[in-house]
């Protein structure tokens, strides 16, 4: 099976992605990750104003069968989280790079992006 890995994103080897627009980083989990987890039923991520730190666990995503920690690809202050996931956690399975995004942070240090994987390298990792 092959999984979608959009070119415009940066990836963490623990399967989170980040998309940066004007200093704001939107974070989610990859197509591969949602498939591994199966039916997502619960998402727990920090509220607006909380800090996340690159490489640290910032929340969990739970499927019917498992709990999985979420790791921050970048550091920053949470500016928004995807409220739709509270009632529709399945968006994470249906559209992991779109409507299934997790949260947005104001980037603390743009140079952290250099430590992340590009789409090709990430695709190689999950191949």
């Amino acid at each position: 099976m092959s999984f979608d890995t959009p070119d415009d994103l940066r990836y963490l080897d623990s399967h989170e992605w980040v998309r940066v627009t004007d200093g704001t980083a939107r974070i989610g989990i990859s197509d591969f990750a949602q498939d591994e987890l199966g039916d997502v039923v619960f998402v727990d991520v920090p509220a607006e104003g909380e800090e996340i730190s690159a490489g640290d666990s910032f929340g969990v995503v739970e499927s019917i069968k498992a709990v999985s920690d979420l790791y921050a690809p970048v550091s920053g202050t949470v500016t928004d989280r995807n409220g739709a996931l509270e009632s529709e956690p399945e968006l994470l399975n249906e559209d992991p790079y779109g409507e299934g995004w997790l949260l947005e942070v104001e980037l603390a240090d743009e140079s952290e992006l250099d430590d992340l994987l590009g789409a090709d390298d990430y695709a190689d990792q999950i191949a």
């Binding site: 199966g38 039923v41 619960f42 739970e62 019917i64 069968k65």
Partner: protein
Amino acid sequence: MALRQSPLADAHADRGAKTTDFGGWEMPVEFDSIRAEHEAVRTAAGKFDVSHMGELLVSGPEAAELTDRLVTNEVRDRSRGEACYAAICDDGGVMLDDTVVYHLPDGWLDGSHLVVPNAGHDAEMATHWRDHRDEWGLDATVDNHTESLAMIAVQGPEAPALLASEIDDTSAAADSDLDALGRFEATVVDVAGVECLVANTGYTGEPGFELLVPWDRTTTVWDALDCQPCGLGARDTLRLEMGFLLSGQDFDPEENPRTPFEADIGFAVDLDTEFVGRDALARVSDPDERLQGLRLEARGVPREGYPVTTPDGDPLGTVTSGTMSPTLGEGIGLAYLPADLEPGTEIAVEIRGEGKEARTCATPFLDR
């Protein structure tokens, strides 16, 4: 050690199933999605490969007596074609496994008794049976057929009609046999041309059957059952919504030794029969702790090992099984809790260090 393989392993791989190690067997955990498979069984029909279940054939003049003395339920007086659920206990009344025991119909494996232990328990239980046979000097033979009999469950409101449609016209009597088959009754019919033992049993709470199939004909029967294939993931959410026990998880002689009364299956214990563990059980029929259902009122999912406390945080027990119920859309679980707690008691489940509001409840979680 290499994992044991179902006769359907290649078919499952072709179908793209994800597999897992279950009791030493490589079995499908998910074909499409747990939710889709779960819903198919609750609303239509699904088929499960449960070839990991053990099959011990106990035959000979004293087969019934031997088996009767090794399980908690009454076996000896059951007619041919009758089955029962039972626990297998040690001398102290601790459950080693749970099982369904069939008194086989005439003409199928000589009408002996068939004991069906859980995945990975077949060799241990065969030894348990043989050791007691020798100790008691009974005339019985114990053969392990776990890798010559496969098992397929077909479950769901549409399962009876689906199975009936695959029963060969030449065995015209068989169709009506299926209709007349009571709960925990078994009969022999041809399914897609393969002679199977069909039992009105299951692990989902839905109407349906479990089929014992000759190992080398399993693919024929599996392919003929035209419905959603389901893996162990859906099997677990379905059984948990019914509050059914999972051996090795809700009880385990090493990790979590429990009596059948604690596990809330006292209905499967007949203290009027003589069996290993009977005397110990007679003294503990009113246990201090009992397996109870719980429903999370906060958002979240109870999982195995999570602490259960009072709302103030005083320890009460530990979750043995938990999931997000696909049918109810809320977190449900089982836990050994003080037996005097009434259903509806406010409790808390500690999830990642935080007490989440929950209540005890009666099982099954669904009306079925």
